[in-house]
């Protein structure tokens, strides 16, 4: 955190000043470790085992916050008889379909709901990363659930949890993660001791947890712990994602993702959602409890915002104009499609995949096979010059004279050269003024798309084609100002907030959303940010002039609520769990919820409220069900649907690992997304043969001094000089083993590429004893590329493409490689070296280990 979020880390230091104890769990000793009280080195990719160990520690010692767990989680809920656990299935839950490598989730459901899972087969959901839609929408859980409040029923979630994690003992943690039992116990003790009625603990994670083939399950394990300890919905609790780029939270709220529309409305699928009604019903699940019951209003208002007058109830608000998913349109699939010639043109805005995305070579080869590429960036980045200066030019794979891609480079205005909002990890929108004029031809994204839209509409103005109506009917009328006709960002924010169509009055919140076309809302969760016609995101009242929740600084979605599910900060009767942790509570006198924050509950629904039989939507939520977006109002220790790779987190090895999974016969996540493509490959892992060809684990992350793919730091001398060269950190032991010298060169080889780096021999890297073997990990920054003031080989060239099944994030934190002293070969010899490794490792590009591990795998390199 100190490395990548130094400004946020000031609060950790502040806490430390006040006596807090800081643990840092990380494969390498970082600047965070330097100021932590305890540094816990871990083998990359094994946190589920560690966290699972903590879950077991809590359950075994009954350290859970029992009242909270009973009332607010699904611990007591009884799960279907048909469910069987990985503990019985040697790494598989019930319902696995080896054909597609995905699960049928019916057997995971609560008892009596087997048929109504609504998710059923998840193969297609994986393709469209649609698991996410359930994650955020609450899965379909209709009617009442059976519960055992004594938690004794063998099939209640609590007991299932206990059995599932029973083997995640301190010994097992040590065996899998390489963490000593003493250190593990210290960590578990500290964590649990700091949670309960009077204390809360917060879990903060970032991409060290997400970029794994089991990334979503990492976070799930953390969430389970937080629920068990009663740390959700309470001040000082929660699970926080430290985000990356300044508004990366905003870019999921109003998404740049292929599978979502604003406000987490799912992108319709061409086959599943042929009509507006079917689409809306897939979100709200008629009859289901919880707030998604209003989905129709949100969806209709969104379409109304898009197509204005053209959108009417009669034509389903132009639902037909919405693009449809046909499968996986994720960035990695697209790159492979480019290589295959299926994609001809590409807009690349604010991204540098030639350096920043896994399998750099595939990224560059893909972009070299387009007809045209538009790059809008602040700097001349690798993704714009790969055809000329990329490593493939030296190897002869790209010939500049013959490269077909026409690259258009358009200079972009940076964040200080334009106005708008940033949304940060707390869902807080903060308005930003323009500080300086953009130089030269640099323009904002808003300007670019607005004028591009106008140009396209002019060209199509006379088009008789129905397909062009979608564009021509769009509302596209923002006021502009200045010599370059810059559209007003505030006007955009106003539209996002939503307005009454008849009067133009800005809505005060999403409760005003209507399904009849009388409201238009650009993003329903942001509704209220422009309430009363005032830019609420621009509020800057000092924290010294208001209470500690500081509700008048910026604006948080939804409804300026700073902590979600904050009903959980009060006990089932509506009283604060403790004075110290008082946040939101039931005021019996006034018969309403009150507190420091905006209550995340219907204001006047008393704690004693019990829904009538058959109630759905918000009415179905009881007065003591704080998790109001969930179908059962409960926090899910066990996820009957929504997570594609299992209702409970399970330790699988990274896709590339030198270690045999000590827990299960199944080696890696069986549902991971794999791409069989000639350019892609996976290094063999046990029990496959030849795993020893790539004996070392490498892990990749950030340096404080550089930013992501490096364009914004390697081009700026005060930053570039602080970390001026690509390097690899190795332990003294490994340096001795391989023959590396400090400041000398090393090159690293994977089945995809070979890269070179200067060597830093440092005790900050620790060899680990794992399952009786010594595992060496090396660390690389991923910031380097071939443009800028300081250059170097890109760590991402080493990776292949393997993704988490839920959100299609790449496993770019851990892989296997060989490390050799000296510089890498250049030109064709480089390709030969990689080919030689592939031969020795038995890698046939385009094929990889089958999803299901079989012990005779070594013999047959099954394709999939």
């Amino acid at each position: 955190m100190a490395e990548a979020h130094p400004v946020g880390f000031q609060w950790v230091m502040e806490a430390k000043r006040k006596g807090a104890k800081v643990f840092h769990v990380d494969p390498r000793f970082t600047r965070t470790s330097a100021v932590a009280d305890e540094y816990v080195p871990i083998r990359a990719g094994t946190d589920i085992a560690l966290l699972g160990g903590v879950v077991r520690y809590i359950l075994d010692n009954e350290l859970d916050f029992r009242e909270y767990v009973l009332a607010y989680t699904n611990a007591a809920t009884i799960v279907s008889e048909e469910f069987s656990d990985t503990e019985d299935g040697d790494g598989f839950f019930s319902g696995f379909d080896p054909e597609t490598g995905t699960y049928v989730q019916d057997s995971w459901q609560y008892e009596g709901h087997e048929g109504s899972s609504g998710s059923g087969h998840t193969a297609q959901e994986r393709d469209s990363a649609a698991g996410l839609t359930h994650e955020s929408h609450g899965a379909p859980v209709g009617g009442q659930t059976r519960r055992d409040e004594t938690l004794q029923h063998p099939r209640c979630v609590y007991q299932i949890l206990k059995r599932h994690f029973s083997r995640y003992t301190p010994e097992m943690v040590e065996r899998v993660c390489g963490i000593s039992q003493a250190q593990f116990l210290e960590l578990a003790r500290a964590w649990t001791a700091n949670s309960g009625r009077n204390r809360t603990g917060m879990l903060i994670y970032s991409v060290g947890w997400t970029q794994h083939s089991v990334g979503v399950q990492y976070i799930r394990t953390g969430a389970i712990i937080q629920l068990l300890l009663g740390n959700m919905g309470r001040p000082g609790g929660g699970v926080m994602a430290l985000r990356g780029h300044a508004s990366i939270q905003g870019s999921t709220d109003i998404p740049t993702l292929f599978n979502l529309l604003p406000g987490y409305l799912p992108m319709p699928h061409h086959a599943e959602h042929p009509s507006f009604d079917e689409w809306v019903d897939s979100i709200r699940h008629p009859g289901q409890k919880g707030f998604w019951g209003n989905a129709r209003s949100f969806a209709a208002s969104l379409l109304k915002a898009y197509w204005g007058d053209a959108a009417t109830p009669e034509n389903d608000f132009c639902y037909g104009y919405l693009p449809r998913l046909t499968g996986d349109h994720g960035t990695y699939q697209q790159v492979l499609n480019m290589i295959d010639g299926k994609i001809k043109g590409y807009f690349l805005l604010g991204q540098n995949p030639a350096v920043g995305s896994a399998h750099g070579r595939a990224q560059r080869l893909g972009m070299a096979n387009l007809d045209w590429l538009v790059v809008r960036d602040l700097f001349m980045i690798e993704s714009a010059t790969f055809w000329q200066n990329g490593p493939e030019v030296t190897t002869g794979e790209i010939v500049p004279e013959e490269c077909r891609t026409e690259v258009f480079f358009l200079p972009a205005a940076s964040h200080v050269e334009k106005e708008g909002t940033f949304t940060q990890t707390q869902r807080l929108l903060q308005w930003r003024e323009k500080a300086v004029e953009p130089p030269g031809d640099a323009r904002s994204e808003l300007w670019f798309f607005y004028h591009l839209g106008h140009k396209l509409r002019e060209k199509l103005a006379d088009s008789p084609l129905p397909r062009d109506r979608a564009l021509l009917d769009l509302t596209w009328d923002y006021p502009t100002h200045g010599p370059h006709a810059e559209p007003s960002a505030e006007a955009v924010l106003r539209e996002i907030n939503g307005y009454d169509v008849a009067t133009g009055r800005p809505l005060s919140g999403f409760a005003e959303a209507r399904a009849d076309g009388s409201t238009a809302i650009g993003c329903w969760i942001y509704s209220g940010v422009y309430a009363d016609g005032v830019n609420q995101a621009a509020r800057r009242r000092s924290r010294h002039e208001q209470d500690w929740v500081a509700a008048e600084w910026g604006w948080a979605w939804p409804a300026n609520r700073r902590i979600l599910y904050n009903r959980a900060s009060a006990d089932p009767d509506g009283n604060p769990w403790s004075e110290r942790k008082r946040y939101v509570w039931w005021d019996a006198e006034k018969s309403e919820w009150t507190g420091y924050d905006v209550p995340d509950f219907e204001k006047t629904k008393p704690p004693s409220y019990r829904p009538p039989a058959g109630a759905s939507g918000p009415e179905g939520i009881a007065g003591d069900d704080p998790f109001v977006m969930q179908g059962d109002g409960k926090g899910w220790l066990y996820a009957p649907s929504g997570v594609l790779d299992g209702p409970l987190p399970t330790h699988y090895e990274p896709v590339e690992s030198p270690v045999r999974n000590p827990l299960y016969g199944q080696q890696a996540n069986p549902t991971r997304k794999m791409y069989a493509h000639p350019v892609n490959s996976v290094n063999p892992s046990p029990p496959q043969e030849h795993a020893q060809v790539f004996p070392y684990v490498f892990t990749v992350s950030r340096l404080t001094e550089h930013h992501t793919a490096g364009a914004m730091s390697r081009t700026v001398s005060p930053l570039a000089e602080l970390q001026p060269e690509m390097f690899v950190e190795v332990s003294p032991a490994l340096a001795g083993e391989v023959g590396l010298t400090h400041l000398g060169w090393a090159h690293l080889v994977s089945g995809r590429a070979v890269i070179e780096a200067k060597v830093l021999v440092t005790d900050r890297l620790t060899p680990l004893r794992v399952d009786g073997r010594i595992i060496h990990q090396v660390w690389l920054p991923y910031h380097f590329g071939f443009e800028g003031l300081v250059t170097g080989d890109s760590a991402n060239d080493l990776f292949g493409i393997s993704l988490d099944p839920n959100v299609l994030i790449q496993e770019s934190k851990v892989g296997t490689c060989d490390v050799r002293p000296g510089r890498r070969p250049i030109g064709p010899a480089l390709l030969e070296l990689v080919a030689d490794y592939q031969r020795r490792a038995g890698i046939v590009p385009g094929q990889h280990a089958p999803a299901v591990t079989t012990d005779d795998e070594g013999k047959e390199h099954g394709a999939s």
């Binding site: 001398s717 003294p732 032991a733 340096a735 001795g736 005790d763």
Partner: protein
Amino acid sequence: MLPDPNSLYGPLDPAPDAGYENAPPRMGFFTDTSVCIGCKACEVACKEWNGVPESGLDLLGMSYDNTGALTANSWRHVAFIEQPRPAGHGAAPADVLGAPVDADAARPVDGGPQFLGMPGAQPPGRGTGVEERTDFRWLMMSDVCKHCTHAACLDVCPTGSLFRTEFGTVVVQEDICNGCGYCISACPYGVIDQRKDDGRAWKCTLCYDRLGAGMTPACAQACPTESIQYGPLDELRERAAARVATLHERGVPEARLYGHDPNDGVGGDGAFFLLLDEPEVYGLPPDPVVTTRDLPKMWKRAGLAALAMAAATVAAFVGGSS
């Protein structure tokens, strides 16, 4: 000529001594290295605010320090020191920073910052057994000009380019400096430095321009963890003493202040530090003394030598026959 008996040495409030009437309180830095996270924001902020040029794009291999030293082109410098500590998890009592409480063990036979590539890094293949995993200290410290009470650089400057500001800080005037280089040899901390392509001497100005406008210096403003604290020196000294006491209480006996003492060899620093190891480990002199302390004696010796010279000449001419 020398108004205050302590003008050359000893405790002193420098601004009034330099002739300021109604000088504002002396301003300075307290840099608490125990909370430094090595983010180098201070280095970058200083460069941005003061327009300091690039100082070279070279990987030094000195842990994460690629700046190397305070130079004319780096007025803040964050030092990184990797110190191996004997591990044996849970065995040795460890303090907040993972360092053993036992003072002797804190200096392992092969430990401590060394002349090796990476301090503490054993020669490849040695030392770090897998069995006994190693724990570390990774010390970070943001160094800067000390704005000495008795600033040798200022004392020796023959042009008056270096001067004492009303805030008690020491600043070079770039339009006066003729690059004689005297200040550079005089500074006991190796701070001030000549810029190669420019010839003049440069160093931290303690953001004189910002101070004048009532602002905080750029580096302190940028520091996320309040490792760099700016304020009236008296106040900072109190704060620092309290911090040391807290750290000692929390089992960090090695915490100590450096440069805070008006009785030290330079009359106390305007920028002082809380360190977690010996000063020399961070590249600081353990007992700096302003060179001009001995200046009266030097002039005396020179006078005697001059007399001897004259006498010898006289003797040579009158004492012989041929």
